[in-house]
């Protein structure tokens, strides 16, 4: 079984204390709010999509270390990518988080692999996945998503 140190890795704690792209994107054209009603986590995700590319991305909100770090790392990984590539990253991440022991697509995941320890903590999967479902909602034109 994974211990705490697998979950709270240094890189995750850094993203928690100094999240990247923690900002409102004024020129965003696709935004969505994500809620985790069980723990009160809330995130607003801003995407500026130009010609099929994620030109800028930011997020705001409140949440635990895992949800904040996951959101921060997600914004880093999708910024500058095509929508198609963002989908691929979503799929690789989702696979990693929800299927313990699954083979990881390390090329696609990059640093996101740091969050793989979460799949050993079933009660925390929703924390890690909140930002990602919010991105999916924003890209598909839904303004709100809830994970429960």
């Amino acid at each position: 079984m994974a211990g705490l140190s697998d979950l709270y890795q240094e890189i995750l704690l850094e993203h928690n204390s100094k999240p990247h792209n923690f900002k409102k994107v004024e020129e965003a054209n696709q935004t969505a709010d994500g809620y985790n009603p069980l723990c009160g986590d809330q995130i607003t995700l801003y995407l500026k999509v130009v010609d099929g590319l994620i030109d800028d991305v930011g997020f705001q909100g409140t949440g635990c270390a895992i949800s904040r770090a996951s959101a921060s790392m997600m914004t880093q990984s999708i910024k500058g990518q095509t929508l198609e590539r963002a989908e691929q990253i979503f799929d690789a991440f989702h696979h990693m988080i929800t299927e313990p022991g699954a083979e990881l697509d390390l090329d696609t995941l990059g640093d996101l692999e740091t969050l793989s320890g979460v799949n050993e903590f079933p009660t925390r999967i929703k924390c890690a996945i909140l930002a990602w479902h919010t991105m999916k909602a924003a890209l598909s034109g839904d303004s709100e998503v809830t994970t429960e």
Partner: protein
Amino acid sequence: MTTTLDINNVRDDFPILKQSINGHPLVYLDNGATSQKPQSVIDAIVNYYTTTNSNVHRGVHTMSQQATDSYEGARSKVRQFINAGDDKEIIFTRNTTEGINLVAYSYGRQHVGPGDDIIVSNMEHHSNIVPWQMLCEEKGANLLVVPIDDSGELVMDEYEKLLSPRTKLVSITHVSNALGTILPAKQIVEMAHANGAPVLLDGAQAVPHMPVDMKDLDCDFYVFSGHKLFGPTGIGILYGKEEYLEAMPPFLGGGEMIKSVTFEKTIYNDLPYKFEGGTPDIAGAIGLGAAIDYVNNLGFDQITAHEEELLRYGTEALSSIEGLRIIGTAEHKAGILSFVMDKAHPHDIGTILDEQGIAVRTGHHCAQPVMARFQIPATARASMAFYNTKDDIDALVKGIDRVLEVFS
């Protein structure tokens, strides 16, 4: 005379407390969510299914009579436990939520109309908010909220101002699940009655910690759950004054709650059966009866003294941790310590404590308006029962040290 709780003997009565969780002895501090069950409660349920299982009432065979006697015996135990006037004022429900919904549906729909007011407080559990919101929406009535101050006390002056001839019901918690505040229930009832309004008290968090007395409180309805009182899940109690219950229409139609049925007309059964449509949770009621026996045997003098000392010890210990803030600092509190930390979100606190075998609850505790009042998304909550010890508090403090290490 108050004697001291023999804590080792008490803990021996609770088999679950002997477990290890994640390689550590279990430290169970999530009693506000549900309490653990003594062996006598587990035995009562097993014994019922092993020797007596039959449907209650109307049966002519021996086991049915025994099941009925045990079920009705449990009702009498509840009546004595809360010092109600009559067994028929004790309605078995599934839980606190069902009790509140029953009153909202049955009493509320008959008595609340457009422009009327229902009063709740800012520290209610969602189960004492949502049923009234639903009723108010249906009837065009207003839900008024008594504010709380920074320590988590009800602001009584504001309550006074909200009461008016439009007030049709006051529904307020006896003990706050998120903050631990013990509310001045008797005064709340007196003030409402002076305005002609009946009062429902949500006793879910009160009955495990203190004696409650219906004749003294003089409330019109009182609700609680068995599982927070060391009994099984699936059984709860609605107490209602006979005059109110008699006048109220049934909640669930079906078997048990009728005297006679034809397609032209159904005559409803007498109290309490009018409100107990369908086969009840017989084993649950018997288990609750056994739990009440257990609590009575310990006695609230000892329970309260032990828990007050734990709360004092825990409050002092947590207060000395830098960057930790206790939410809910009312003068009169039950054994609940809700807290937030500067460096760690409650959810992370919960995971790190769990790794050390310490069970606390993290989140909004089904009381989002309380979180909004204190402008926090969530808290970590350690909630105590009489079987907790100072060692449990020490383990909690050590666990929090680990949180500080991770989030240094």
